[in-house]
């Protein structure tokens, strides 16, 4: 008994030694902090969220370049990326060489003086649409980010479910039925009468985003004063929460498990679709047939999102990072990203390229997505004013919508709590 015990411990301790050695070896393999290894290769990390369509581009770069390698760091949602971004910004270390920023948060990033590199460069002069470029300039006129894409919105819909409800399925005809939000909601009520198990749109949160992007000053006045008790916002609130009662919404949080599963379970029939959403729909609805996109957006055009690549000043390889960011956002690359995940270009040249204008999307019933999104971009008339607090307030607003959605509060209670939450942002 005694000997077997000692033997066991001896076995265990030699296992420990082996493990320690293995670990040390592993550590030596991958523990380079500044991204430069002994053989002079610089690794540039690029942190993205959602889908940027960069996988193919990065392979292409890495195959062509020996001195600089790109490594992508993917995070699920912008909210997660944001929490990480601010934490590491505060810590002064830990950020990737290139950090992607969601468009709505760009004003807040511009306000962080000195934290991000000035990327102004003659080479990229005039690369972007003027209204996009404007969003990248801070108070001193420095260019803090390189724009990747824009998010002109159309309406994605399930033609098979439309057919089931006796609605037209052709994308031109569908477009004709959704000129205003009232038309869109009325059509929805008709739809859910015929197909009671399926909601009209994917989530109240998505709808709220779409409607907010048509409001001049959703949360803040032009001098950055927080002003959430305004008529326009209250109108959006009334529409979004009113529809919940009518049963038009799935009542699911956007990006949740159930939301994702609802793509596979005929959970809803339509959704607001900025270009980058096409890749998301295709991923979630893999194997589902009948998706299409209509060249229309209720209440005029709308732009949802579009992101920016920034270079944090705390990085060790600023110049290389800048080079990579410029390359990733060059027109030729953005054309390829558009082909991969539908992220619609913000670069003038890319928008004129034949590959974009003539692009079709097989998953969406061969819809001419290039043409549709280009027209959708032209339809955008309102650029909502977004100040430094926009992103944080939006998060609170989404939670408020969700409280009504999941029935934990009625609209009035939830609105009051939203006001308190906004106040707590300080």
């Amino acid at each position: 008994m005694k000997t077997s015990k000692t033997r066991r411990y001896r076995l265990a301790s030699s296992a420990l030694v082996a493990l320690t050695l293995a670990t040390t070896a592993a550590a030596c393999g991958g523990g380079d902090d500044d991204g430069t290894t002994a053989d002079g290769v610089t690794t540039i990390t690029v942190a993205t969220f959602n889908e940027f369509g960069y996988e193919g581009l990065i392979d292409e770069w890495n195959a062509a370049n020996d001195d600089i390698k790109i490594e992508q760091v993917k995070v699920g949602t912008w909210d997660d990326a944001k929490a990480n971004l601010y934490t590491k910004l505060a810590a002064g270390s830990g950020l990737s060489d290139i950090e992607a920023i969601e468009g709505d948060a760009m004003p807040a990033i511009l306000a962080e003086e000195g934290a991000f590199e000035d990327l102004t460069d003659d080479e990229v002069d005039g690369r972007w649409l003027p209204w996009v470029e404007e969003k990248t300039l801070n108070a001193d006129g420095q260019m803090i980010g390189y724009a990747t894409d824009i998010g002109p919105e159309g309406i994605c819909y399930r033609s098979d479910l439309f057919e089931k409800a006796g609605l037209p399925t052709d994308r031109e005809e569908v477009a004709g039925l959704m000129g205003t939000w009232d038309d869109y909601f009325a059509l929805g009520e008709e739809f859910i009468k015929k197909v009671p198990d399926t909601a009209w749109y994917d989530s109240s949160g998505g709808l709220a985003q779409a409607m907010l992007n048509q409001v001049e000053n959703p949360f803040e006045t032009d001098d950055n004063t927080v002003e959430v008790e305004n008529d326009e916002l209250e109108a959006v609130w009334a529409d979004v929460t009113g529809n919940i009662e009518k049963g038009l919404s799935t009542k699911l949080p956007q990006w949740s498990d159930d939301w994702t599963a609802s793509f596979q379970n005929d959970g809803f029939a339509t959704m607001a679709c900025p270009g980058w959403m096409l890749g998301v729909v295709e991923g979630n609805a893999e194997g589902v047939k009948g998706w299409d996109i209509a060249n229309v957006f209720p209440g005029g055009g709308g732009n949802w999102g579009g992101s920016f690549l920034t270079v944090p000043a705390q990085g060790e390889n600023i110049e290389e990072a800048k080079e990579v960011a410029a390359w990733l956002t060059a027109p030729e690359q953005q054309v390829k990203a558009f082909a991969a995940k539908g992220t619609f270009p913000s670069q003038v040249e890319a928008l004129e390229s034949g590959e974009v204008t003539s692009a079709t999307n097989a998953f969406f019933n061969d819809a001419p997505t290039g043409e549709i999104l280009a027209e959708r971009a032209q339809a955008v008339t309102v650029q909502p004013y977004k100040g430094p607090k926009y992103s944080d307030i939006l998060q609170a607003f989404q939670a408020a919508v969700l409280r009504v959605d999941d029935g934990s509060q009625d609209a009035a209670q939830s609105w009051d709590q939203f006001l308190t939450d906004v106040e707590a942002l300080g």
Partner: protein, 339 residues
């Protein structure tokens, strides 16, 4: 074995005196006297070694334990932003703000509710399980190992796995409930249902672990007690209630207190269970906990002052619960022993 306790306390004094004199005493007995410097070195070695041995612990503890504790207090009385750093001294304003925040009360109640839902059934089941294991089982070690299996799954993994089971609309559990005619339960939206879901995760991971601790205590109960009781005609259940339970009381206190310290800090399970964008514990903080509030204040609202104040309040709550538990169990035990 049993008298070792006395030897560490009282024994030291008596043993020490002859030893102090030993170098000089060794001289006359014939051994060559050691050189003066060696003696001094030895004495220094004896005197300093203990401090040297415990110093790594205390030094590191000072840096990663004591300092943070004091510094949390310092931060909590200042305006302190995550990005901007230290601001003005604000006294108890942060505490006032946190205590006045409706989310604090709500998340405190959630934390306590989840804690009770997870620890009470857990300890009951653990004791029963231990009683089952306290038999002459075939394949004893295998059974013991098998109940410990969930313990090696990390809380993050547990939360992911159970999260997929508890889907509100397309989850397995609601589907199964549907088969027996029960309406789907809003695991992520109904406050108490969400607490049950999270408590299940905790219970699944920890019950086996606590059962083993109880088992060890049960095996330390002298078997003669059972034999005597059996002769007096006490049945198995009766034996369990009037012998086993009182005898394992100290262990129960240990289990309850450690699970209090851990349970009130719960973070990974509710955070990963949450599917809303903000990840604060549901749209209306249905299952947000105090530790999640610390994270929310500090790293989402970027206010380290309020985060620190919340941390201190959590500490107070944990201490209060620890003491209450201790008293409660002592009392229950005392009642049992009075008979």
């Amino acid at each position: 074995m049993s008298n070792s306790t006395t030897s560490r306390g009282g024994g030291t004094q008596t043993v020490s005196s002859p030893r102090e004199g030993s170098p000089s005493a060794s001289g006359p007995t014939g051994r060559a006297p050691r050189p003066e410097w060696r003696q001094r070195l030895t004495r220094l070695d004896v005197r300093l070694s203990p401090y040297l041995y415990i110093s790594p612990f205390f030094l590191l503890f000072l840096v990663v334990g004591m300092f943070p504790l004091g510094y949390t207090a310092w931060v909590s009385v200042h305006d302190w932003s995550l990005i901007g750093g230290k601001g003005e001294f604000v006294g108890l304003d942060n505490f006032r703000e946190v205590l006045g925040n409706p989310y604090f009360t709500k998340q405190l109640v959630n934390t306590i509710s989840i804690f009770l839902l997870s620890s009470v059934p857990q300890i009951v089941i653990a004791v029963v399980l231990a009683a089952l294991l306290d038999n002459q089982l075939r394949g004893r070690t295998l059974w013991r190992m098998s109940i410990l299996l969930p313990f090696v799954v990390s809380p993050v993994a547990v939360a992911i796995i159970f999260g997929s089971l508890y889907g509100d609309r397309y989850g397995l559990i609601n589907e199964l409930l549907g088969y027996v005619g029960i309406d789907p339960i809003g695991w992520h939206t109904e406050r108490w249902a969400s607490h049950v879901a999270i408590a299940t995760m905790v219970n699944w991971r920890w019950t086996g672990y606590n059962a083993l601790i109880c088992l060890a205590a049960m095996q330390a109960v002298p078997r003669e007690l059972y034999e005597a009781a059996a002769i007096d005609g006490a049945g198995r259940v009766r034996q369990f209630v009037s012998i086993t339970l009182p005898m394992i009381r100290p262990t129960m206190i240990f289990v309850v207190i450690t699970s209090t310290i851990g349970g009130l800090q719960i973070f990974a399970e509710p955070r990963l269970f949450d599917e809303t964008n903000a990840r604060n514990g549901g749209s209306d903080r249905q299952f947000g906990t105090i530790t999640m509030l610390i994270y929310d204040f500090g790293w989402q609202l970027r206010d380290l002052g309020r985060a620190s104040a919340t941390a201190w309040l959590l500490f107070v709550v944990i201490c209060a619960f620890g003491i209450a538990n201790f008293l409660l169990i002592r009392r229950i035990g005392a009642l049992g022993g009075d008979r």
